[in-house]
């Protein structure tokens, strides 16, 4: 299957007695948005962390674009083309919006070991950064210090940084959180387009967005995938409704 870009095979991870990932297998295909949903504490972020390289799985294997990355570091995976956003913003808070995004552009270029030329005057990098800022709608705040952004604006910035990397695979952990109704709507439209550029593994509790976007949905409960399927299948899956959706789906 050549169109599988990310293949998670039988991953397990325990914290003491707690099995946060319990034999999880998932894949992500070219051009799709694969949503990962599940109750709080089900192990979604833990799974994302293992794919991104922040946590090492106890057992199992992860293939990215055809190569085994299970043993690679975060930076090496990012270089291979993995872009991610965090559930809780990870940004350089003293930097301006532009500077934060420039970091992404630097990463895209593949190295920071240039000691002499002023980086903010580097037209190529700047171009790349500015277009990403524009795409998420932060242009107005380009020179604002990140710590002065509102919560929602930070979420947008986080997406912008990931964009500059022009990743081949996106991992997004609750990008909608804190976005506000309008922001969520905008981001939904944006992700809809983005999937053409790179497929997205999307963790999200905002069911409106998930149902609007997802090609496939996997449901994680207590570290196990209990169901995978298209929107209708999941929406009507009894166990999923009981464990996660509640009345909402009705």
């Amino acid at each position: 299957m050549p169109d599988i870009v990310l293949n998670i095979q039988n991953i397990s991870k325990s914290f003491g007695a707690l099995k946060a990932s319990d034999g999880v297998s998932l894949d992500l295909r070219e051009g799709e948005i694969h949503a990962l949903i599940g109750p709080n504490g089900a192990g979604k972020s833990t799974l994302i962390s293992q794919v991104a390289g922040k946590l090492k799985p106890d057992t199992g294997k992860i293939d990215l674009l055809g190569s085994d990355v299970t043993k690679l570091s975060i930076a090496e995976r990012a270089k291979l083309g993995l872009g991610r956003t965090f559930q809780i913003s990870e940004l350089a808070m003293d930097y301006t919006v532009l500077e934060n995004v420039m970091l992404g552009a630097l990463g895209k270029r593949g190295g920071a070991f240039r000691f002499f030329m002023p980086v903010m005057k580097d037209a190529e990098l700047r171009e790349c950064a500015q277009s990403a800022i524009e795409r998420v709608g932060l242009s107005r705040h380009m020179h604002k210090i990140t710590s002065e952004l509102s919560h929602g604006q930070r979420r947008q910035l986080e997406v912008a940084v990931a964009l500059t990397l022009e990743p081949k695979v996106f991992l997004m952990d609750e990008p909608m959180a804190g976005m506000g109704a309008e922001g969520s709507k905008m981001l939904t439209g944006f992700l809809d387009d983005l999937r053409q550029q790179a497929p997205i593994l999307l963790v999200e509790h905002d069911m409106d967005a998930v149902f609007a976007l997802a090609d496939r949905i996997s449901v994680l409960v207590y570290g196990k995938v209990i169901a995978t399927g298209n929107v209708d299948f999941i929406r009507n899956h009894d166990e999923v409704r009981r464990a996660y959706l509640g009345e909402e789906a009705t």
Binding site: N40, G152, A181, E182, Y244
Partner: protein, 229 residues
């Protein structure tokens, strides 16, 4: 009589002004939704109420007392319980310790909070920084409840919670309101769910309160204009 009444609040972060005139009232036993697009000043308003940010003008009265000159902890003790944006759990404390550190006597205690969020009971001795995002959110809400407030302030408190849990929280809030007469000021993005509990809404735009009224009066046109949906 209004439990909380703020009028014409202006406030700045250093040199940059964020609030340009906020009026807001929360009555006894009332649930008020504070709404607006990203960056319009909702959280800033809340910071001013909790005295985490000084206002440059305007008045703030809580339970008939002006609190504009009081330090944050005094205001909190008068009965304002805050569940802040982005959680701010004490990451170096366990779940239990987070809750005990905040507790003041009253009907909410550890046992009752655990009833509301059984998940926290299971994670009792885990450090807050290793909790999942949703678990942290539950902890932040519980921590605010542990102070046994008269006015509970929830700033995006259901962010990142599973739909079932969210429903449970809204149900709990309705119940609280009905049973205890707790007043609540809430920021949340899901209008549909707010509709079940909120009595009134106040909408902010660019640091000003531009609309307020009964939640039922919040027509789709108004939402479209101020909230973009």
């Amino acid at each position: 009589m209004a439990l909380l009444k703020i009028s014409d609040i202006q406030a700045s972060y250093g040199a940059s002004q964020a609030l340009f005139g906020i009026d807001l009232e929360v009555g006894d036993g009332e649930v008020v939704a504070l709404m607006g697009r990203n960056g319009m000043g909702k959280s800033t308003t809340i910071k001013v109420i909790c005295r985490l940010l000084k206002n440059s003008s305007g008045t703030i009265d809580f339970a008939g007392v002006s609190i504009a000159k009081l330090p944050a902890h005094r205001v909190a003790r008068m009965g304002i319980g805050l569940c802040p944006e982005s959680r701010r759990c004490f990451s170096n404390l366990t779940v239990y310790e987070n809750l005990v550190a905040a507790s003041r006597s009253g009907e909410w205690d550890f046992e009752r909070v655990i009833e509301l969020f059984p998940r926290l009971g299971e994670r009792r001795n885990q450090y807050a920084n290793s909790l999942s995002g949703g678990e942290q959110q539950m902890l932040a809400i519980s921590r605010a409840l542990m102070t046994n407030p008269r006015l509970l302030i929830l700033d995006e408190a259901t962010e990142g919670l599973a739909p079932v849990v969210r429903q449970e929280i809204w149900a709990a809030i309705s119940k609280l309101k009905a049973e205890t007469g707790l007043s609540i000021l809430v920021v949340d993005k899901t209008i549909a769910e707010l509709a079940n509990v909120a009595d009134r809404a106040v909408i902010l735009e660019r640091g000003k309160s531009v609309w307020s009224g009964d939640f039922t009066a919040l027509t789709p046109e108004i939402s479209e204009q101020y909230l973009g949906v």
